[in-house]
């Protein structure tokens, strides 16, 4: 009698189900079954990361400042170029340039993979209703799942610490906006333009390359921007699995309660984020053909 009443007051323990176990088994199974493939993956990514990193280190520091200045001046105006170049110089003055290069390497490679995979996925989603139905909830899940969760399977799958699982976790976290904005960009192309293309006998590929992608270009560029920003947001988190860079400096400062060091490294990340964001937004605006000029 008393026990029966208890069921209504607290949720009965014997009704809980265990999904953690099956997920572990699944990840283990993935790791075992695709070991050779995954190891090849690690080798390839290590090579790619090394190539980018070596290149970034090969270029002297002042070249970055000069190039940034010129690029921002072309995209915006002199004052903005001056401010952004100063921010970059500041990162170097704070002693975080090497760390920034490690971080930037992971960001660049993650964004590159996101682009290579995200763009076709977005196109597929816009063109095939079935893909749209399947991918929409998947994207929602990818973005709402706490980003820490990706670290574990990335570690387990690749059986290694450091940059490679960091890139994979960053990719999973950062790719959704690129897919979504590619999809939206194509879907939102003015109906009358698509119809005009159709009325002149365009093939589906001509429609994509000559009409839909060029029209969606600025939206896709905005997607690249968002993806990059999300990759920056993962910097500190991936340092938890041993990725080198400014993120690790923040992590160490937190662990050792070094307020000053923590803020210094934090500022370096913020400055990097600002520089990347302005740069990519400027490019997105330049690509927006539909907004050029005024009506007569």
């Amino acid at each position: 009698m008393f026990k029966l009443l208890n069921v209504f007051l607290t949720f009965p323990d014997d009704l809980t189900i265990d999904i953690a176990g099956p997920i572990d088994t699944f990840i283990d199974w993935l790791g075992d079954t695709f070991r050779v493939f995954l190891d090849g993956f690690v080798v390839f990514f290590t090579f790619l990361l090394d190539a980018v990193q070596n290149f970034l280190f090969f270029v002297p520091w002042w070249v970055y400042i000069v190039l940034l200045f010129i690029a921002v001046y072309k995209l915006y105006r002199l004052s903005t170029a001056f401010v952004l170049s100063t921010l970059l110089l500041f990162i170097m003055l704070l002693g975080f340039w090497d760390g920034t290069v490690y971080t930037l390497t992971i960001i660049l490679v993650s964004v590159l993979i996101s682009f290579v995979i995200g763009l076709p996925t977005g196109i597929l989603m816009a063109k095939a209703p079935t893909a749209e139905k399947i991918l929409k909830p998947v994207l929602d899940m990818m973005q709402t799942l706490p980003s820490f969760v990706y670290l574990i399977p990335a570690l387990m799958l690749f059986n290694t610490f450091g940059r490679v699982p960091a890139v994979v976790a960053t990719f999973i976290y950062a790719v959704p906006p690129l897919i979504r904005l590619t999809y939206l960009g194509i879907k939102n192309v003015d109906e009358s333009i698509v119809e005009a293309g159709e009325s002149f006998g365009s093939t589906s590929m001509q429609m994509l390359y000559k009409i839909q992608l060029p029209q969606a270009l600025s939206t896709i560029a905005a997607g690249v921007n968002q993806t990059t920003m999300m990759a920056v947001a993962m910097v500190v988190i991936t340092s938890l699995i041993g990725a080198r860079g400014v993120g690790r400096d923040v992590l160490r400062a937190v662990q050792q309660l070094n307020v000053g060091d923590g803020f210094a490294a934090g500022f370096a990340i913020v400055f990097l984020a600002i520089i990347l964001d302005r740069l990519l937004q400027g490019i997105a605006q330049k690509l927006d053909m539909t907004a050029q000029g005024d009506e007569l």
Binding site: D190, S192, I193, E195, A196, G197, E198, S199, F200, G201, S202, T203, Q206, K210, I211, P214, Q215, L217, M289, T290, Q292, G293, D294, E295, L296
Partner: protein, 391 residues
Amino acid sequence: MAKAINIKDLSVVFGKTKQRQAAIDMLDSGKTAQEIREATGATVAVKNVDFDVEEGELFVIVGLSGSGKSSFIRTLNLLNRPATGSIEVDGKDLMDMTKDELRQYRRNDVSMVFQHFGLLSHRTVIGNVEYPLEVQGVDKKERRERSMEAIKMVGLDGWENHMPNQLSGGMRQRVGLARALTNDPEILLMDEPYSALDPLIRREMQNELLKLDDEMDRTIIFITHDMNEAFRMGDRIALMKDAEVVQLGTPEEFFEKPANQYVKDFIADVDKTRILKVRNIMNKPSFVAKKGMAVKETLEKLKALDMKFVYVTDEKHKFLGYVTLEQLKKSQAKTIDKLVNPDDTSIYRNLYIKDAWEKLNEAEFDLPVVDGKGRLRGILDYETVVEVLAQ
């Protein structure tokens, strides 16, 4: 050659699969489009339309918004797929075409001008105009040449490297027209092309189209909701209401025997003098001098006919100017060639009388009437026009 279009029992139905089928089954039951919509929930946009468009005809479909005219014209290049019926272009039914045949038909035989222009905003004017050739795989040099021709034809040369959003509405629609002309289609579909333009530009564009139509050999289907525009443009007109054709005929037939009260109401606002064109009331000149004619012979002819001057053309009837009686009397020359005075009072034969009126008022003589290629076709005199207007 322009192509003829034969439309038989054509219907377009929009809606969810089940409702749509129910509506299709009811098409021949004698119920109106509205009754079918109330019964099934599906929209019958075009219902049992049946007519032929002749080769080279400028055929206008007029009706209020929601009458189904836009849904109809979009079936002619299968942007809308009809629920029932057939559309034969030169004897070939569009509905039987394979995907590939349809693409070839769209590329070579038909093109469309859209109400909201449908310009590719990421391409320049010439980039837009060459698009139809580009999808066909025409090489760059040739398509640039052909595009420039089309751009000149619509009077946009000098603007070819501008972006569409740097142009005014009227200019954008010219780009739309040029683009529709580059692939040299036999059928030109114009879906309310001028509705988004202000009245002055609209009038100008109408006249230009009539002029182009005069020089080209194309079948044009033109959609409008403006009855005046319909009468200005159309060789024949179909008036649509509630998905059906209410009346089909020449502008004159609409006035002589309107099919019902709806047609009467619809044409009540139309200014009659606007549907009569110069070509309908011009006279044949009693004598036209040819280039190279002897002065003496011309003089005699003028005296015999009691004329004070005479219009001069070349061997191909191209209008050159005029020679007066006084000139001929004084002249020592052998032929009249050096005596010809240029004349800029000539009017185009497809002008409406209202538009010719002003020029006629200023003129001292009868006006020479020319066609699209500048050939003298007749003369228009003051008395005839006054007589027509007084009726």
